[in-house]
């Protein structure tokens, strides 16, 4: 191991990256673009729900219910219908997401103390939105229902002593406004670290192979270990740089605060990078061309992202898949950075994940390094 030789190789690598303006632009610009897209496009909150109202009852009660929908802030009544056939047209054409149908006799039934029937028709082709919209609609109707019921109870209160009830107070910890941006920033961060470091490392080695310059490097006094360090350190540096960029944008633009320790965040990210850099080296040993290297990277990146719980909670997956996720190092990293970012916890809670991640990192890096040295020799 000779530090000077490593530094020289590192300089060459960095020079190669810096010389290519477009490359450096892309490496720094793409994380920020991703953060913006995720920050703005990914909202789990659904609003501006285009709604059609088919009110056959046309009474004060039905109008009050409709008014409750409008004033909830989620629903925008776009069409007022006069025949049931229009429902088909609007839903088939995808022009509304929900139809509120209040049949004749709604107010009359309610006045007589019978359950007044009504219907909400939802476009199930977007099952994710439909489920959320159904929740909102139920809440609005329950709120209305509850008010009517309270009135009825009040009238009875004269005759009855006291009526018990339950009141729930919900408090959300860590992310009181449930902003998706707070949830997404750690995910985007881990995704960027994963893709940038795997791609950069594997491609920079394979490019030398493809251009035939790897042989020149091999005949220099560089040992395989030095060569590997020189090839992985740029990935590490760029990964850290990207991370800093993303954090700055997250904090100053999206106003996402980091609850925990930032040095710990960086330290444990480096731990995660052991795994990704190791994978980068491994991919370079099984690829002959840059194109092959990218294709192979995809096989790792795709399951890593989807099975890490990055956006889709692991608890909802089928049991077998849940077991598979234990083999995905990114899963532990996400738990760590979400813990630091959102809950502000430290190693006292995160040590199991940290140890597992370290084991993965050291294991993968050692195996790939061994394979790489053998290939060179």
């Amino acid at each position: 191991m000779n530090i000077r030789r490593i530094i020289r190789l590192l300089k060459k690598e960095l020079l190669q990256i810096v010389r290519d303006r477009r490359m450096i632009g892309l490496l720094l610009f793409s994380p920020v673009l991703q953060l913006f897209l995720f920050g703005y496009a990914v909202t789990t909150d659904i609003n501006h729900i285009s709604t059609a109202v088919y009110d056959e009852d046309r009474t004060a009660a039905s109008r009050e219910l409709i008014e409750r929908f409008t004033s909830s802030g989620y629903f925008i009544p776009k069409y007022y219908l006069s025949s049931p056939r229009e429902i088909d047209e609007l839903l088939d054409g995808g022009r509304v997401q929900m139809v509120l149908h209040i049949p004749r006799g709604f107010a009359g039934n309610m006045a007589r103390g019978r359950g007044a029937e009504m219907q909400t028709v939802l476009d199930g082709s977007d099952s994710m939105s439909a489920r959320v919209i159904a929740g909102y609609a139920t809440a609005v109707i329950q709120g209305y229902s509850g008010r009517i019921m309270l009135e009825q109870l009040d009238r009875l209160r004269g005759t009855v002593s006291r009526v018990p009830s339950i009141e729930g107070r919900l408090r959300v910890w860590y992310n009181p406004e449930l902003r998706s941006a707070r949830f997404m920033v750690p995910a985007v961060l881990s995704m960027i670290l994963l893709t940038v470091t795997i791609m950069l490392t594997s491609m920079s080695i394979v490019r030398e192979k493809e251009l035939g310059t790897l042989e020149q490097l091999v005949v220099t006094p560089l040992t395989p270990a030095e060569l590997m360090l020189g090839k992985t350190l740029p990935g590490l540096l760029i990964g850290m740089l990207d991370m800093t960029f993303v954090l700055l944008v997250a904090v100053f633009w999206f106003r996402v605060e980091i609850a925990g320790s930032i040095p710990l965040l960086f330290l444990l990210s480096i731990l995660f990078l052991l795994t990704t850099l190791g994978l980068g080296i491994f991919i370079s040993t099984i690829s002959k061309t840059q194109h092959e290297a990218t294709l192979t990277s995809f096989f790792f990146i795709l399951p890593f992202i989807i099975l890490s719980g990055f956006m889709f909670p692991i608890e909802n997956m089928p049991r077998i898949i849940q077991y598979v996720t234990y083999a995905i190092p990114m899963r532990y990293f996400l738990e760590i950075i979400r813990g630091i970012f959102l809950r502000g916890v430290g190693l006292n809670y995160l040590w199991p994940q940290t140890l597992t991640l370290a084991a993965f990192g050291i294991g993968i890096l050692t195996l790939s390094a061994a394979r790489f040295s053998k290939r060179l020799g």
């Binding site: 477009r22 909202t43 909150d45 995808g94 997401q97 019921m149 339950i166 009141e167 294709l295 909802n316």
Partner: protein, 377 residues
Amino acid sequence: MFLRMRMIMWKEFVQIGRDPRLLAVVVVIPMLMLLLYGYAINLDVRNLRLAVYDQDRGPASRALIDVFVGSNYFYITHYLRSHHEVNGELDGNRTQLVLIIPPDYSRDLAGGRTARVQVLVNGSDSTTAGTGIGYVAAILQQQSAKVSLQALARDGVSVTRVVLPVDNRIRYWYNPELRSTNFLVPGLVAMILMMLAALLTSVTVVRERERGTIEQLIVSPVRPIELMLGKLIPYVVIAFCDVLLILLVGVYVFQVPFRGSPWLVLGISGIFVTAALGIGLLVSTVAPNQQLALLAAMLTTQLPSVLLSGFMFPISSMPAFLQWFTLIIPARHFIRILRGVIMKGNGPADIWPPALGLLIFALVMLGLSAARFKKKL
């Protein structure tokens, strides 16, 4: 002209055939994505982890806990004994919700007063938390109504007069069980094609340049548009086979109901494939090397298609400027068409405007890449 184009096509096919990894990618990546999205991702939030801190330990508090367990949305991870444990449970991310029942819960209810329970929600996963809050609110409201009615019944008041006044029936059209696979598979067709565009066509031209074979192509009598078509068509054929594969697996393995005309879907897919691969081709004529081409292709095809196409995240909830921007994303229009035809049985009359848009987009991409290539000559 056709002869020259055929020669280029033939050359590309031979090159693809020689690259076993490429062929593997074309078959394996779509299958992997189908498996991951169709099987691993479940957007239905169930089995929320709930910890209970029951300070009351009376019959009424046990009844409330039973309602939570019986709802099938929650399972109880722990019974806590102190406030200190509550903190640890949430900080360690071991639970998503904590239900705290105060010591005087049963006494308050028996005395006809309002009993207050507290629910702490772990907001670190904002999506799950949002859904969980909805479930909790609904359960508490129901239980409250039940407790009130029981008390009234004991006092001899006829309960029938205070039934919940509004009886809302929710109906989901096109996807009555709200299966997420029905919603995801049409979108996946677009995702997979976009990924192939990024992985396959983005390097075709730049690779020739990097290897120096581009000069041979330039001195040959082949014209730019012939070259572009010759390079594009083999990939279009491959991608089209992928469309068939995904749709067959979707319909026969994942049991996605197919209501519209398969021919319509295949026709429009042909147009979309050309548009998607055309973007890759354009990137390839612009990019200086393969590394940059791949990165740029990911950014221009993959990322916007995942986030801004309505594949998972509803467009109507995005900020207005982003909603306008989605109009130039081909995947957005393609997904709308696919969902319309497959799930709603839309015919040509419903879908021609976005289909026409796709066609224009495809032609523009092809024209631009040919024009861009001519300049390089």
